[in-house]
């Protein structure tokens, strides 16, 4: 009787252990590599081939500039998801149309000499053109493509948005051609370095992005319309019963998201200068990633996610992968692995079964002991040299996304979902 019970239970228990063990092994590996890489970069910095102090600073600043643009775009993804519960994949193209149309404004101002004579006005005007264009495009998309689908199953607007994205790309291509449009160089007075290694143009990007985000945040948190938006995100039906014009609020959401994407579009043009009809694709995907990273539906999360993704992209390859060149002694590695298992054990204790812990700790202790006792192993240094680091930028960024989601499945700041999604 007891014998059959044990026999019946054993496979299932082992199955759980193996999968858990596998996931934990991934976590331990990730931790080891990150700690090894970051530690390595810090130790190697200043040495030949290592990162100099200036390099750390440049990478951080460029990551911040890139990330704040991702953050601005991510807001649109996140807000629309919060209110309607689907991903508007055409949002990258909303961003691109602003950037492209604003090019013509920038070029005209440049030709007229205004670009150089009153740079602040020129940039502000171009910014407005870009933001308003994107806003109009976003409103049009909502009116034409999504409104009729309000009550359709969620896959329908999703696939519509992908179609819309292609439509916008090729409509823009038809209108303005497939070549690159090159923004004029930033005005003379705004070139060069400002302070602490910030290029003036990077500073403009970061400051404009931060101010826009602050304004948006205040708008959503403090105004009546903002409160209505949050109410609609929470529950459309009840919000409607409370006298909120749901359609109008949804349009407002698209408009605000489009406006932010337009701001990002102009900043993109200012910083990278080359825009064309496919410019929106990659930043769109990255910004969506940023929104998920920060916690979809969560505005502060979108901003934080964007900046984090920019920093991961910029610093990740150099700091984590580049640092692996630093020779890591095997005993240290073993100690880090053991410590990693220990840390995770403390954090994840409730799931543990005694057998598992005995195996894990026993294994780790044995490995550590073996490495410390066998003299030949004590001197082994591990070092990984990866060629063409920068090409792995996206790999690092998306691996970081996966890892963040492994440790925090709802993103950095957690998701904010409406009642019907939570149910």
């Amino acid at each position: 009787m007891t014998a059959t019970d044990v026999a019946a239970r054993r496979p299932s228990r082992f199955a759980i252990l193996w999968v858990d063990g596998f996931l934990w092994a991934i976590r331990v590996f990730a931790l080891v590599f990150i700690v090894w890489g970051v530690l390595g970069s810090i130790i190697l910095s200043g040495q030949t081939g290592g990162l100099s102090g200036d390099a750390w600073r440049d990478l951080t600043i460029s990551g911040l500039a890139q990330g704040s643009m991702y953050g601005l775009i991510a807001l649109g993804y996140s807000m629309v998801y919060g209110v309607l519960g689907f991903i508007n994949f055409a949002h990258g193209e909303v961003f691109m149309s602003g950037a492209l149309v604003a090019y013509f404004a920038a070029d005209a101002l440049f030709e007229a000499g205004v670009w150089e004579s009153s740079p602040v006005f020129a940039i502000a005007f171009t910014l407005l053109v870009s933001a308003v264009t994107s806003m109009i495009v976003a409103i049009l998309i909502e009116r034409v493509a999504y409104r009729k689908l309000r009550n359709a199953p969620r896959l329908i607007p999703l696939i519509t948005s992908i179609g819309m994205s292609f439509f916008l790309q090729y409509a823009i291509r038809g209108l303005f051609g497939s070549g690159f449009q090159t923004y004029p160089q930033v005005p003379e007075s705004l070139r060069g370095e400002a302070i602490w290694g910030f290029q003036k143009v990077q500073l403009i990007v970061i400051v404009v992005a931060a101010v826009s985000m602050a304004i948006l945040y205040t708008f959503v948190e403090r105004t009546k319309t903002g409160r209505a938006m949050r109410a609609v995100a929470e529950d459309k039906e009840i919000a409607g019963l409370m006298g909120i014009n749901v359609d109008r609020i949804i349009v407002t959401t698209f408009a605000v998201g489009g406006f932010m994407a337009g701001v990002a579009g102009m900043l993109w043009g200012l910083l990278f200068r080359q825009v064309y009809f496919l410019t929106g694709f990659l930043p769109g995907i990255k910004a969506f990633t940023a929104a998920v990273l920060g916690g979809i539906g969560n505005m502060a999360g979108a901003m934080l996610g964007g900046v984090s993704l920019g920093l991961f992209e910029s610093l990740g390859p150099q700091v984590v992968l580049g640092g692996l060149r630093w020779g890591l002694a095997l005993p240290i590695l073993a100690a880090v692995v053991a410590a990693g298992i220990g840390v995770i054990a403390v954090v994840k204790r409730p799931m543990a079964t005694n057998t598992y812990w005995r195996t894990a700790f026993g294994g780790a202790a044995l490995a550590l002991a073996a490495i410390l006792i066998i003299p030949a192993w004590r001197d082994i240094e591990l070092s990984i040299s990866i060629p063409a680091l920068s090409q792995l930028k996206d790999v690092v960024a998306f691996t970081a996304l996966v890892l963040v989601l492994v440790f925090r499945p709802t993103g950095l700041l957690g998701e904010r979902l409406a009642v019907e999604e939570r149910a």
Binding site: W18, V19, A55, D58, G197, Q274, L282
Partner: protein
């Protein structure tokens, strides 16, 4: 249940790993599997052709090579074909090259009294699929002696095995990938096939020319190289790095960007860590533009010399050559200033004038000249090895044709003197180093000064500034 999922995951990972490991061998495998079907026409060619007319006793010659030959009856045409990229984004290259071939056929005239038939233009689609399909379509036709093509190196890698198996020759006017011929040290590269020839330069020459100029003339000893993962740019950057190291310099950073990247600060920071004096980045717009534009914002790269290749030769509104940041840069590229009088007495200026008169527009690209020469060496080699029969027939032995082309030496083409090595590199390898100093010129590409020429024998001449 979950245990099984884990196994499935591991299996999937193993499959992915296996797929990655295999990818390098894919091209050879596909070439190998084509072999049986393509071999058939080759061995049958003499058998099917020969009985067509009643052959006199010694004609066609009894001693024929193992590839067989082609009997061209009296009044029949010499069959050659073209396989170029004539659709999509690279259409302008293939169309330009087909015009080069048409002009060459026109200039060459008849081969021992037989006219030349180009048949239907095949499309290489600038990739392996198109190269293989086009080659299959050509080898299925009777009596074709040779093919002028391909436009793209990727297409040639797939087309060459098929055409080679069929006993034909493939002569390209624009493939530059080193993989199609040799490493220039006497070793065949992975995609080399017997019967493959080209009149375009081998990228190894271009990389070496850039390295030689940077090291010997500009006096730099520490270089960085950046490619974009494309086989063309990677090969070019690699040949630069190898040559620079062989000369005694140090290549402190060899790295890559992704196509589609906009923020170049990470890669430039990586490069800056090696403190190079010169950066060679033979890539394309827009990534090349971003590198030149963003380099000013990266610490430690203020005095670095930028050096690129002909891929960045883009003029017109917003083109790289019109950017102020591109001023002061060096470029390597084929020297397109042809002053040679060719085999038929035509020199390049006449050829260009005829091109413009016949097609009503300026040449679309540069490689029509190389393709003109490719067609010329093919036709003249056919004529050289052809045996005339008693009734006006022609017998062309395929082995003799290859042997003749392999031995081609000092052939006077419009692109220079053509001499084939054992692996089919026939080009004059005229590589020039350009210095760009005026981004505001009406035609900034033409305004770039040729500061040095490198020729095939390794000779290096400074043209002065």
């Amino acid at each position: 249940m979950r245990f099984r999922n884990l196994l499935a995951l591991l299996f999937a990972l193993a499959m992915v790993a296996a797929a990655c490991g295999d990818s390098s061998t894919t091209t050879t495998t596909s070439g190998g599997t084509e072999a049986p079907t393509t071999e058939a026409p080759a061995t049958e060619a003499p058998a099917t052709e020969a009985p067509a007319t009643e052959a006199p006793t010694e004609f066609p010659p009894a001693a024929m090579g193992e590839l067989g030959g082609v009997l061209i009856g009296a009044g029949e045409s010499v069959q050659i074909r073209t396989l170029q990229s004539i659709s999509g984004g690279t259409e302008f290259l293939g169309v330009d090259q087909n015009r080069g071939t048409e002009l060459a056929v026109e200039d060459y005239g008849d081969v021992l009294g037989h006219s030349v038939d180009l048949g239907v233009f095949e499309d290489d689609l600038c990739g392996p699929e198109g190269g293989a399909a086009g080659a299959q379509a050509i080898v299925a036709q009777d009596g074709v002696l040779g093919v002028v093509g391909t436009t793209c190196s990727g297409a040639a890698a797939a087309a060459a095995p098929i055409i080679s198996q069929a006993g034909m020759v493939l002569v390209s006017g624009s493939n530059t990938s080193p993989s199609l011929t040799s490493d220039l040290q006497g070793n065949a590269n992975e995609n080399w096939q017997p019967g493959y020839y080209r009149t375009a330069h081998n990228d190894l020459f271009q990389g070496a020319a850039a390295a030689e100029y940077a090291f010997s003339v500009l006096g730099f000893t520490n270089a960085g190289a950046i490619h974009d993962g494309d086989p063309y740019t990677q090969g070019l950057a690699q040949s630069f790095a190898d040559a620079f190291t062989a000369l005694g310099g140090t290549v402190s950073v060899f790295t890559a960007v992704n196509k589609g990247d906009t923020d170049m600060t990470p890669v430039l920071t990586e490069v800056a860590a090696g403190e190079p004096e010169v950066i060679y980045f033979p890539i394309f717009p827009p990534e090349g533009n971003f590198i030149a534009q963003q380099i000013g914002g990266v610490a430690g790269l203020d005095d670095v010399q930028l050096f690129s290749a002909d891929g960045m030769f883009v003029a017109g509104e917003g083109g790289f050559m019109t950017l102020p940041e591109s001023e002061g840069m060096y470029f390597s590229g084929p020297n397109l200033v042809f002053e040679n009088s060719g085999f038929t007495g035509v020199n390049y200026a006449d050829l260009k004038a005829r091109y413009e008169a016949d097609y009503g527009e300026a040449p679309l690209a540069a490689f029509h000249a190389h393709t003109y020469d490719a067609t010329m060496i093919l036709l003249s080699s056919i004529e050289a090895v052809a045996v005339e029969g008693p009734n006006g027939e022609l017998w062309v032995d395929r082995d003799d044709l290859r042997a003749h082309m392999n031995g081609l030496s000092g052939f006077s083409g419009v692109t220079g003197s053509l001499t084939c090595d054992a692996f089919g590199d026939c080009g004059s390898q005229a590589i020039a180093i350009f210095f760009h100093e005026d981004a505001t010129a009406a035609d900034p590409i033409a305004a770039a000064t040729v500061v040095a020429n490198l020729t095939k024998d390794g000779g290096f001449s400074e043209t002065g500034n």
